[in-house]
């Protein structure tokens, strides 16, 4: 099918009003060029938008949203497009409102430890800007060199160090939002505790379905006084998981606990990110602790003890920043290294209780075998957040189908083990069908009603989060009645 088909869908909008104020270099309608917006970091689902508007200010966002409203068009907010659940994919065509040009850091208040930023600011750039003043923005998704604060807010993103510091919602103090009808609202603010409903908390993680974030007030924290990083190498994945349990049970709260399995290690060692892991290693565990020197030394002694008890075949300690980076190298390069295994990569995201890590991973291996797909695991072990990665050739529809089937079974497995279907990448398009695995119909309908209260026309990022056909003009509640018993 040509992409032109979707472009000339039902009604061609009247762009003249839009063109009267947006310069041509920030409006994209060419059918070839809009195609590059047909997916985000998850190229499993694709649909071209009819137009992309690159907004530079809140005022422009309001104008664009109002224009969409008049034209009866849905819109999809987009940050950097690194999302892994299809959140920024314009599945009903419509208009992409791209926010990467709204990238100013408006204000840094070092004394009161907060910053006010536009949504297109890149996660890393924010910490780069505040570091000279001795402060950092804590949430550190592995995509932090590219992803935007607006996208982080929408996905409630986490990262390796969120084990200790919490996820995005724990660091967002206030938001300005353009609602789907073009109204501007301000929620929260620099003060830590706000009277009334915590609307900011409600908004974080809504994946673009509540309108467009145009300003974010974030909390800043001083970097840890000291950091220690270790790498334990095992000849069994189970032992690595056991060490994770021992550490967490002991009361030590590391800043990061990351595991890579054998497939991942092999992919890493075969790539430019070669980190020097032994060939026969079945798993490596990366441990990082933050705090003051005295307590870190004490924790170090205990961590070494646990490594011995769990029969680690090797234990490495970073003595300086360079060695620390070397230990992280394999972990940071893992995703790219797996990308080289085949032409496409499907990054799954699920959560299981920490105590179940070992048995769930064994089952994941069985599922992979059954569907004949290659799964490599690299995950935030400290909070039981799994990332099984499936390498495949997306040009083969049959293989793609098997990948989707395996993915679904793995998520069902997470749920059956007492976990859930998403740790940090959101539901988006990818997992909307799986929502009933973890929520009852009533629960889903309550969420739908909430969404419709904010966005009665389903204009903002439609067909995301909720299973197909559950959101309709006549409201979630009525729809619920039609769901077969």
């Amino acid at each position: 099918m040509s992409h032109l088909d979707s472009v000339s869908s039902p009604k061609t909008p009247d762009f003249s009003a839009l063109k009267s104020w947006i310069p041509p270099e920030r409006l994209i309608t060419d059918p070839g060029e809009v195609s590059v917006y047909e997916c985000d970091g998850l190229p499993l689902h694709k649909k071209s938008p009819i137009a992309v508007v690159l907004c530079k200010s809140e005022e422009e966002v309001v104008q664009t949203v109002k224009w969409c409203d008049r034209e009866g068009l849905p819109f999809v907010p987009r940050g950097a497009g690194t999302g892994l659940s299809g959140g920024a994919t314009p599945i009903t065509a419509g208009v992409i409102i791209d926010l990467n040009r709204m990238n100013r850091i408006k204000h840094i208040d070092a004394e009161n430890r907060f910053a006010i930023v536009e949504p297109g600011v890149i996660n890393n750039h924010l910490s780069d800007a505040t570091r000279p003043q001795g402060l950092e923005y804590a949430p550190d998704p592995s995509s932090q060199r590219a992803c935007t604060i607006g996208g982080n807010v929408a996905e409630n993103s986490g990262g390796p160090h969120c084990l200790k510091y919490g996820v995005t919602t724990d660091h967002v103090l206030g938001l300005r939002v353009v609602l789907p009808d073009g109204q501007i609202v301000q929620m929260g603010g620099p003060e830590i505790d706000q009277p009334g409903y915590d609307l900011t908390g409600l908004f974080v993680g809504t994946e673009g379905t509540f309108g467009i974030v145009t300003e974010v007030t974030v909390n800043l924290i001083p970097p840890p006084p000291s950091v220690r990083t270790y790498l334990a190498i095992f000849d069994s994945l189970g032992l690595a998981c056991r060490m994770v349990s021992q550490i967490t049970r002991s009361g030590i709260l590391p800043a990061a606990l990351e595991i890579m399995d054998q497939n991942t290690i092999r992919a890493v060692e075969a790539s430019v990110f070669r980190a020097g892991y032994p060939e026969d290693a079945a798993a490596v565990l990366l441990i990082e602790t933050h705090g003051i020197d005295d307590s870190l030394a004490d924790e170090e002694a205990r961590i070494i003890e646990f490594a011995q008890e769990c029969h680690a075949i090797e234990f490495r300690t970073a003595n300086d920043e360079k060695e620390r980076m070397d230990l992280w190298k394999g972990r940071k390069g893992a995703f790219g290294a797996m990308g080289r295994v085949n032409t496409d990569l499907y990054v799954l995201d699920g959560v299981v209780p920490r105590t179940q890590l070992e048995s769930v991973l064994n089952r994941v291996g069985e599922i992979a075998e059954k569907h004949q797909v290659t799964v490599s695991n690299v995950f935030h072990a400290g909070d039981g957040n799994l990332h099984p990665n499936i390498s495949y050739d997306g040009r083969d529809p049959e293989e793609s189908h098997r990948v989707l089937e395996a993915g679904k079974e793995i998520l069902q497995l997470c749920v059956d083990s007492g976990g859930t279907i998403s740790g940090e990448h959101g539901i988006g398009l990818e997992k909307s069908e799986f929502l009933p695995m973890v929520f009852s119909d009533e629960h889903i309908d309550t969420m739908i009603e909430l969404r419709l209260a904010v966005d009665p026309q389903e204009r903002s990022n439609p067909q995301k989060i909720f299973p197909d056909n559950r959101v309709s003009k006549d409201g979630g509640r009525q729809k619920l009645n039609k769901v077969p018993q």
Binding site: H3, E33, V36, A80, S143, R145, A146, G336
Partner: protein
């Protein structure tokens, strides 16, 4: 507007090399480091978007439109994306193949491209023609024609003035010619440290062979001081980098072969290049010549750092910042430390950090002439970073970058030098 089906089909049949695009996993991590995306904010001006377009054209899932092609044309081939991509994409090679196929099926129609093609294929490969051209430019400058023409012309076109700023003063014809193997005793510039520890060959480049003759002289002196005999074969030719960027791969191969024979009998151990763009091109031979030039190719700073330089004896009181040429850091993967560790040996030199020193300045060979609307704002960012660094001297080891950065600093009190020119000043006669 779409491109006729027949041309689209011809392109697809030929663009077999598109499988390289499959290395991209669409993660987006490269986007913030792409200078063109930084200017326009468009996905199609980012590495990920460009690869997606190339793949889409080849797989017939994306319509082949002039508007989308424009963004592939806008790639500077700075290769910053190669450095940051966790999946190891090879943008340089991909762009060369893509543009090559484009030239065969859908050649550009504008006068600029015709002019470029004429220059690349008929002037640049010949040292005699380059010398003649530079003579013309010299007299044009000398007799104030340049001032008059630019003065009048810029009343009609703002671009002319900006383009003129790029051109450095042209040395006198008599000072411009470096003696080569044909005209010096034994064809050698001998080591000044007694018996040479190595015999190295010097690569001159095309326009740079005459326009940057002073840098060649500094290079030779630095090599002689460090105990090397320097051989400069007369028959060498252009490196072909500009041809490759433009997709004129066949011509680039011919030039490479010319250089292979120029160095074949030279007996040199290493070939030294002082222009980052040429160095990258020579280090990456065409697949038909897997042995390349038959001996290692080294950037001058990379090489001097490897073999060590004698202790400098002159104090230089300057505040210097290093701007990394893309084709040195991203193309040849020579880290900033190679250059900085040489400069650190110069007494009196204060080295200050330069923010984004690994980011493109917008030169891109002749990109700044073909795409001034992109190159100018990219240069503006570079100038801002330079001014913030507080440096009074910028060093950068590539003629294109030298011209581009210099043009942005003409009305500032900041000098732009090749690192070897600065190093050379650190030694008494």
């Amino acid at each position: 507007m779409a491109i006729p089906k027949s041309e689209e089909k011809a392109f697809k049949e030929r663009f077999e090399e598109y499988t390289q695009t499959l290395d991209c996993v669409h993660c987006g991590l490269c986007i913030p480091d792409c200078p063109t995306q930084g200017i326009t904010g468009r996905e199609s001006d980012s590495p990920r978007g460009r690869i997606y377009l190339m793949r889409g054209y080849a797989e017939e899932s994306i319509p082949f439109t002039p508007e989308s092609l424009k963004h592939l044309d806008q790639c500077i081939v700075c290769r910053n994306c190669e450095t940051v991509c966790p999946s190891g994409i090879q943008m340089g090679e991909m762009m060369e193949t893509f543009r090559h196929e484009m030239n065969r099926t859908l050649p550009h129609k504008g006068w600029k491209h015709h002019f470029m093609k004429l220059m690349l294929n008929h002037v640049v490969p010949s040292r005699a023609k380059i010398a003649f051209l530079l003579d013309l430019l010299y007299y044009y400058d000398r007799f104030k024609l340049r001032k008059i023409l630019v003065g009048v012309g810029s009343k009609f076109s703002k671009k002319l003035k900006k383009m003129d700023r790029l051109f450095p003063p042209i040395p006198k014809p008599s000072e411009r010619r470096l003696a080569t193997s044909a005209s010096i005793p034994q064809g050698l510039y001998p080591s000044t440290q007694g018996k040479a520890r190595m015999k190295v060959g010097l690569f001159l480049g095309c326009i740079t062979s005459e326009l940057f003759v002073e840098t060649h002289r500094s290079t030779i002196r630095m090599l002689n001081r460090s105990g090397c005999d320097v051989y400069v074969p007369d028959s060498q030719t252009c490196c072909g980098a500009l041809h490759r960027h433009g997709g004129f791969i066949d011509e680039a191969h011919r030039l490479y072969e010319g250089n292979v024979s120029a160095f074949e009998e030279s007996g040199v151990d290493v070939i030294i290049v002082n222009a980052a763009g040429c160095g990258a091109a020579l280090k990456e031979p065409p697949s038909s010549l897997p042995d390349g030039l038959g001996r290692p190719v080294r950037d001058i700073c990379e090489f001097l750092e490897e073999i060590g330089i004698p202790e400098p004896d002159q104090k230089i009181s300057r505040k210097v910042a290093y701007d990394q040429p893309c084709h040195l850091v991203h193309g040849q993967k020579v880290p900033a430390s190679a250059v900085l560790s040489l400069l650190e040996q110069v007494p009196g030199l204060e080295i200050v950090p330069l923010r984004n020193s690994e980011r493109c300045c917008g030169s891109g060979g002749i990109y700044n002439l073909l795409h001034p609307e992109m190159a100018e704002p990219i240069l503006d960012e570079k100038v801002e970073d330079i001014l913030d660094s507080g440096a009074d001297t910028i060093v950068t080891g590539n003629p294109g970058c030298w011209m581009q950065i210099r043009s942005g600093l003409l009305d500032k009190d900041i000098e732009v030098l090749h690192p070897v020119d600065l190093l050379d000043q650190a030694y008494g006669a």
